[in-house]
């Protein structure tokens, strides 16, 4: 639905987004994930015209948008990282306000408002002041407000950051229901386990795309085997010893009491770490992220 071609943006000396080409498939959940400062928010802001890109093209349904951002904003709902809710207004008043701003026809407002609040589980809290809602509820209300315009493209910047796990699970379930209706969703998250649930996963670091693909394809094309090693004795000492084995330090990292080792060559260097146990595992998205990040 949306395509970015070689898009770049600098702030002074900082290259926030570096020559990024990206596809956002229609009717799917696209998830961007990476560390803070990776360029996720800047990318979203360029999509909706809040930040002007320096270079590159943005295409919507195959047509370049140029400076005509209204073409994107007329079909999209954008939820910034800091939800823009009026904390002194109630849930219902926020909905009314945003319905007016988005020029929802008055005849449809009540019905739409009720349906959206029910859908996001916010109906019981209609009269509560937005400022008195929990983080998870604020986020559901913010989502409800952007759904008022029935957007086909939904852009969510870190909607679940700092939100408790149950609310996060519920929020993602709402996102999935929107996808079932055929809407296109693009969101960012710092949680790699959440990113795994996306249909299209974009790993991003320091303004550059490390990888973009489905989870299945990421797994299929992943060029390393992953071993989880339980070292004999202290894991820190084992990591120090591992550093003296050529090629091992770059391919190993610590995770609690375990060392994870990514084998790319023919020899399993990890087996040289004195260990109590060594098991081959399917790599998680975090393992793959670390692998590509180290190779950048």
């Amino acid at each position: 639905m949306v395509r970015l071609e070689r898009v770049g943006k600098s702030f002074g000396d900082i290259r926030a987004v570096d020559d990024v080409s990206l596809d956002i498939p229609r009717g799917a959940i696209t998830v961007l994930t990476g560390a803070d400062g990776a360029g996720k928010s800047t990318l979203f802001k360029m999509l909706v015209g809040l930040v002007k890109k320096d270079t590159g093209r943005i295409l919507l349904n195959g047509e370049e948008i140029g400076d005509d951002y209204a073409r994107v904003t007329s079909v999209c709902g954008y939820m910034p990282e800091r939800f823009s809710l009026y904390t002194d207004l109630s849930v219902e008043e926020n909905m009314d306000f945003f319905a007016a701003v988005q020029q929802v026809p008055a005849a449809r407002r009540e019905e739409l408002k009720t349906r959206l609040l029910e859908r996001t589980g916010m109906a019981p809290f209609r009269r509560r002041r937005a400022g008195a809602l929990s983080g998870g509820m604020k986020q559901k209300l913010a989502l409800s407000t952007i759904l008022l315009s029935s957007p086909q493209l939904i852009i969510l910047d870190e909607p679940t950051t700092g939100v408790d796990p149950l609310s996060r699970i519920e929020f993602f379930a709402i996102i999935e229901s929107l996808r079932r209706e055929g809407r296109t969703i693009v969101m960012s998250t710092p949680y790699l386990d959440e990113a795994e649930k996306g249909d299209w996963i974009v790993l991003i670091r320091a303004g550059r795309i490390l990888r973009q693909s489905s989870l299945a394809d990421l797994r299929r094309t992943f060029p390393a085997r992953l071993f989880r090693i339980l070292p004999q004795g202290n894991v820190f000492a084992a990591m120090r010893d591992a550093a003296s084995i050529p090629g091992l330090a770059e391919a190993a990292y610590m995770r609690g009491k375990f060392i994870k080792y990514l084998q790319t060559g023919s020899e399993n260097l990890g087996s040289r770490i004195p260990h109590r146990q060594m098991v081959e595992e399917a790599p998680t998205l975090e393992d793959m992220y670390i692998y590509y990040e180290r190779r950048q």
Binding site: A35, D36, S134, G135, G136, T161, G162, V163, D164, P165, L166, S167, I169, P190, Y191, L192, D193, N234, V235, F236, Y253, M254, R255, G256, K257, E286, Y289
Partner: protein
């Protein structure tokens, strides 16, 4: 798991705020040298429980023993055994990292040469330009590192961390957990509350708390096997749903 006398023993602990029961009679142990993860939605009672263990919040009923000492009768001694990092890291935002350490080292009665050594360690751990910035201006990952450092200044044997990794990016989280694991290898006992379910695998045991009650407890792998679940997320969701919504 070790059968040594528990580092923390919580028995039938309750806390009411007016008519609201925040913690409803929970019991658990934390064994010496163990990392226990405390998982639950917002408002489940994690912070309230941790605060009752530290003595910051009065207990309504039940008891907390720390290394065999009742935390109400022996509070000053218990406090010396505990390190506590609160949810909103209580650093002074207008001071730099080093100034915060100097301040907190001073009030925790650290000898001058120990304080100097601590500041030298901090200088090794954090890049110099960041050390000179006000703590409010440094990235959350660094802030959290400094807060942990401050909490460890008096060298406590038992460390309580309340959501230390919320709002911190994955790389900083992994680094932080490796530090936590390093503390365990030095014999420390840790109780860590978290919003990040994937962190359960760093823990020896997890406690899932919901509506002030413990709804699931055990080693993560054992729980998954016992409940026939593929992931901690599934286990968590199921434990919470089967005990009713808020």
């Amino acid at each position: 798991m070790s059968r040594a006398a528990p580092a923390i023993a919580v028995r039938d602990l309750r806390k009411n705020f007016g008519g609201f029961q925040a913690v409803r009679g929970i019991s658990f142990d934390v064994a010496p040298g163990e990392i226990v993860g405390f998982l639950g939605p917002n408002g489940a009672g994690k912070t309230t429980t941790i605060k009752m263990i530290t003595g910051l919040l009065a207990i309504t009923s039940g008891s907390v023993e720390v290394n065999g000492l009742d935390n109400r009768r022996e509070l000053p001694r218990v406090k010396r055994m505990l390190g506590y990092m609160s949810q909103k890291f209580s650093l002074y935002p207008l001071l730099t990292a080093l100034e915060n350490i100097e301040f907190f080292g001073g009030i925790s009665g650290l000898a001058p040469h120990d304080l100097k050594a601590a500041m030298a360690r901090m200088q090794e751990a954090v890049p110099a330009p960041v050390l000179r910035q006000k703590i409010q201006d440094v990235p959350p990952g660094i802030r959290q590192k400094v807060a942990l450092f401050v909490c460890l200044l008096p060298d406590p044997g038992i460390i309580l961390l309340d959501e230390p990794t919320s709002g911190v990016d994955p790389e900083a989280r992994r680094g932080f957990w490796n530090e936590i694991y390093g503390l365990k290898t030095r014999g420390k006992t840790l109780l860590v509350s978290t919003h990040n379910l994937d962190e359960a695998e760093y823990c020896d045991r997890i406690l899932i708390i919901h509506n002030g009650e413990i709804v699931s407890a055990g080693a993560p792998d054992d729980l998954l096997r016992r409940e026939g679940k593929a992931s901690i997320e599934e286990l968590f969701e199921d434990a919470i749903r089967s005990h009713g919504q808020n």
